[in-house]
């Protein structure tokens, strides 16, 4: 069964990842590239931002435009164009394989039958837990946006994802009122704690682009989850039949 989990995760992730990588190439990535031009412009004004204080930090992860061409910058990064697209696609596929494995882990642990419809429902909940709900605290960001320290945001993101996943599962699978009450508490806790935010928004990326990006990136993650769920729901019965025939 471990082999089946591996096979189905990899195949489903590959399929879903390829589709979504193609979608990213024409939706989110062009906006990221556009935002980087604003970020590069901001870099030129960086000294004026030295007065930043508290936990808010403007983190410019990228050099100014033309950085790769001559500036001594030891850090490796993919070259724009083919290499960057290839790496982005590979990473998206790896993420899809990870989502597929988590989906299978949840469904097998819950003792669910794995078919198209159930896998899609799990995938929709996966998107709620790993996409939509964490995004209510930490909206999808373009490069150049001001944000609180990365570790704190990652920590909150993980807390929100786990609490939402656990809360959804408990609420949907148990009927005892006290379990459901606890589930609602779990769903609310990350938001009562509150996501870390910068003291002052300082992004120079136009709000229209940022808003468009936020909507697109959530839609892309939803597509990734649903495509992964669909592929898992199709491939698991197929892999199981193969095992049955072989065994």
């Amino acid at each position: 069964m471990v082999t089946r989990v591996l096979t189905v995760s990899i195949l489903a992730g590959l399929l879903a990842g390829l589709i979504v990588a193609a979608l990213q190439h024409v939706t989110t990535t062009p906006l990221i590239l556009k935002a980087e031009t604003y970020e590069a412009a901001l870099r030129l004004q960086a000294p004026t931002l030295a007065s930043f204080d508290g936990q808010a930090k403007l983190i410019l992860a990228h050099g100014a435009a033309g950085d790769g061409a001559g500036h001594d910058h030891a850090e490796w990064k993919p070259q724009d164009g083919f290499q960057r697209t290839l790496l982005t696609s590979a990473v998206t596929i790896a993420t899809a394989i990870g989502f597929a494995a988590l989906l299978l882990a949840g469904m097998i642990a819950a003792g669910d039958a794995i078919d198209e419809r159930r896998a899609l429902i799990w995938a929709a909940c996966g998107f709620l837990a790993f996409g939509l709900v964490p995004a209510t605290g930490l909206a999808p960001e373009l490069p150049g946006a001001a944000s609180a320290a990365l570790e704190q945001r990652q920590l909150w993101w993980v807390l929100a994802a786990l609490a939402t996943a656990g809360g959804l599962f408990a609420f949907l699978r148990f009927e005892q009122p006290w379990v459901r009450a606890l589930a609602i508490v779990a769903l609310l806790v990350p938001h009562l704690i509150g996501a870390p935010h910068p003291a002052a928004p300082e992004s120079k990326v136009p709000a229209e682009i940022a808003a468009h990006f936020a909507a697109l990136s959530l839609a892309i993650q939803a597509a990734l989850w649903l495509a992964t769920g669909f592929a898992v729901g199709k491939l698991w019965p197929w892999a199981s039949r193969r095992v049955a025939v072989a065994g």
């Binding site: 989110t28 990473v91 597929a100 794995i114 990365l150 990136s217």
Partner: protein, 58 residues
């Protein structure tokens, strides 16, 4: 629908535990690497995907 569904409860408990553990390890390791690893090389390679899928990024 029924022909396609394969219940996972029919399998032995130890098989299921192993499968869940394997899936969890793979899933967490992959998501950590693609979405969270702090190494700047990994970050730069994964950059567009992290932003594109709404993971916290730099």
């Amino acid at each position: 629908m029924n022909t396609a569904s394969v219940s996972t409860t029919q399998l032995s408990v130890s098989e299921r535990v192993k499968a869940v553990a394997a899936a969890l390890v793979i899933g967490v390791a992959l998501i950590y690497t693609t979405g969270f690893a702090a190494s700047s090389n990994v970050h730069n390679a994964a950059h567009d995907t992290r932003h594109g899928l709404a993971f916290p990024c730099h």
